[in-house]
């Protein structure tokens, strides 16, 4: 049992030393007036439940008073116990509203006095200010005065064994309330069916939050407490104790974060509700695809991939196919993917790339054998094409080749349009290129190496590399053909001229 004595206790206040005993006798919620002059009143009011409202003038001046305001003494665990001392030079001030603790330095406190000079103009002025303040606080004015002015009692919510923390104002003594430390103190028990105060049965381990004094306290997790039920005027408890400091002290802690872990009822869960989820959803709105819109094609229609099947490329697939996330295609799938619009039309001719050599006799025979399976009309057409091919393969006379025709034919003006060079009238070119025997720059690389370069440089660069490679190869073939001319025609003529034969 803990009880704090006043620091300035005179001889007149000697009987106050028996306050603990008196507390035990009357239980919680009694109001004690310790002034001997008011002993009669104290005896009379011993069995009368006090409401915490004091009639003006009943509280004698310059007395040491002990107040204990409460209702339904034995059942209210939030009863405030406050003891203040008042001597001839000190005013006894009791305050049981926690907002006074927060507003301790407010000028309104100056008007809350015991009213020793209430009959003077100054006293009337002080009383008027006091009434105004009470009106602001929602208390009834008039003959009532708040008890414990200057002393704020802050209720600390928690288990019943915790002692109350009492704020000390000026000219006030430190008071500590009873707790479970005192086994003799009659500790009331709270039942869940008590309708006066909403009480939730504590459930340990569920929705437990930490107090603000704890290191890991997060104020955002502080639960919201609905006080509408407890503050409702329809409650009989609130109606009966509207001005009771007990009531206000009980509700005063709403503005104070709990210092001890508080159990949150399941209804106050921090989990967002279903509607909240909908409202706070950050998912992007669903894409709307209109019917008249066409999906973007992966390939630009202006770019046509011209791939040539590599029949001679049997190199191993390099590490690109072994990389994670790389789709390894079968040769059939790869061929289907790389198939160009040209393929299927003149694949056998373009398979030799820029050489543009005419099909050999074996190839022609094979084509004829394939044509035998065609219909008569198709066969006739195919035979006509074969004849045309053989006619074009005949070597034209050099006189028929003109420079003008050379400038108008050859590669298409647009390299990307997929047009093939027309070398029908230029067998020299075709034969010269066929002499080279090479096919494409892509054929010189392995599949994996080409794919790696394709990913690194892109399709346009691959096309450019093909052209550069063809430039080099044709240049070598050109030089080789010119050297052949010199060796076959020029050198014998020079030697004969030198010898004087011609």
């Amino acid at each position: 049992m803990k009880f704090a004595h006043a620091t300035h206790i005179g001889d007149r206040n000697q009987p106050v030393l028996d306050e603990p005993q008196r507390f035990r006798e009357h239980g919680v919620g009694r109001v004690f007036v310790t002034n001997p002059a008011s002993a009669l009143m104290r005896e009379d009011s011993r069995d009368i439940p006090q409401t915490g409202r004091y009639v003006s003038g009943e509280l004698p001046h310059n007395t040491r008073s002990t107040s204990r305001a409460s209702n339904d003494d034995e059942e209210d665990p939030y009863t405030i116990v406050a003891v203040t001392e008042s001597t001839s030079d000190h005013e006894s001030r009791l305050q049981s509203h926690s907002e006074y603790e927060e507003d301790r330095r407010s000028p309104h406190r100056q008007g809350i006095s015991d009213g020793s000079d209430r009959d003077t103009p100054k006293g009337l002025y002080e009383e008027k200010k006091h009434n105004d303040l009470l009106a602001k606080l929602g208390l009834s004015s008039g003959d009532s005065r708040s008890v414990g002015l200057g002393l704020s009692v802050v209720h600390r919510e928690g288990e019943g064994g915790e002692s109350y923390r009492v704020g000390i104002a000026e000219n006030c003594v430190r008071v500590e309330s009873y707790g479970v430390e005192d086994p003799t103190f009659p500790r009331p028990t709270i039942k869940s069916d008590d309708r006066r105060i909403p009480y939730h049965e504590p459930k340990l381990g569920l929705n437990k939050i930490q107090g603000p004094l704890e290191p890991a306290y997060d104020p955002r997790r502080h639960p919201r407490v609905d006080h509408s039920a407890s503050q409702s005027s329809s409650s009989p408890f609130a109606q009966r104790h509207e001005n009771s400091p007990t009531l206000h002290s009980y509700h005063s802690h709403t503005s104070t974060p709990p210092e001890s872990p508080v159990e949150i009822p399941p209804s106050a869960s921090m989990t967002p509700k279903k509607n909240d989820r909908k409202r706070k959803s950050h998912r992007p709105p669903p894409l709307e695809i209109r019917k008249d819109e066409h999906p973007t094609t992966l390939r630009s229609p202006a770019i046509i991939v011209q791939e040539i099947p590599r029949e001679d490329d049997h190199g191993p697939r390099d590490s690109l196919a072994n990389k994670p996330g790389t789709t390894v295609w079968t040769p059939v799938e790869e061929e289907t993917f790389h198939r160009s619009p040209w393929e299927g039309t003149r694949l056998e001719d373009y398979g030799r790339d820029s050489t543009f050599s005419m099909p050999t006799e074996e190839e022609g025979a094979a084509e004829w054998s394939e044509a035998e399976s065609l219909s008569p009309g198709a066969r006739k057409l195919f035979e006509g094409l074969q004849d045309g091919k053989h006619q074009s393969s005949t070597h034209p006379r050099p006189e028929q080749i003109s420079l003008q025709a050379t400038t108008q034919q050859g590669y298409g003006d647009n390299p990307g349009d997929g047009s093939l060079p027309n070398t029908e009238g230029y067998p020299n070119i075709r034969r010269g290129l066929a002499f080279e025997g090479a096919k494409t720059w892509k054929g010189t690389l392995s599949v994996g190496a080409y794919d790696n370069l394709f990913e690194r440089h892109g399709m346009v660069e691959m096309k450019r590399q093909d052209v550069i490679w063809e430039l080099c190869e044709t240049e070598m073939a050109f030089v080789k053909s010119l050297k052949t001319i010199l060796r076959l025609f020029v050198q014998p003529l020079r030697s004969s001229v030198a010898s004087g034969e011609m």
Binding site: H395, L403, Y411, N428, F478, V479, I485, L486
Partner: protein, 127 residues
């Protein structure tokens, strides 16, 4: 015989061009990113084709006339050499057209292989 002299110079020039291209390919294998700088020094030397082209048509006509003449020894020599498998049934006149055809292919190659705005391509096209 002067036409053959010019042809000999043309062969020497294109041999150097071919060597330069081979060097560029070997230096930048497998992707040749810079080709113009290897070809730029040979651009002015392509003027060797001018005297050759100036005399080609007349010389070609004279060669064809002599080839058709069975009594011409030069014609007989051309027919004999053209039967060589290396000639692939091509006559001397067809071979003499090769430098012309080669020059006509250069713009087509450079149009693709050189990027847009390249000074070499612009100088080649006369822009």
């Amino acid at each position: 015989m002067k036409l053959f002299d010019w042809l000999d110079d043309i062969v020497q020039l294109h041999t150097q061009i071919s060597s330069a291209l081979h060097l560029a390919r070997s230096m930048q294998y497998p992707v040749v990113l810079h080709i113009a700088e290897h070809l730029r020094p040979f651009v002015p030397r392509l003027e060797l084709h001018l005297p050759y082209l100036a005399r080609l048509e007349s010389v070609t006509e004279e060669i064809d006339k002599m080839t058709r003449d069975p009594e011409s020894d030069f014609g007989e020599f051309i027919r004999l050499q053209s039967s060589n498998p290396e000639c692939e049934n091509l006559g001397l006149s067809s071979f003499l057209l090769k430098p012309v055809q080669r020059l006509m292919k250069y713009p087509l190659f450079f149009k693709v292989s050189l990027p847009v705005g390249c000074s070499f391509g612009c100088s080649l096209y006369g822009h």
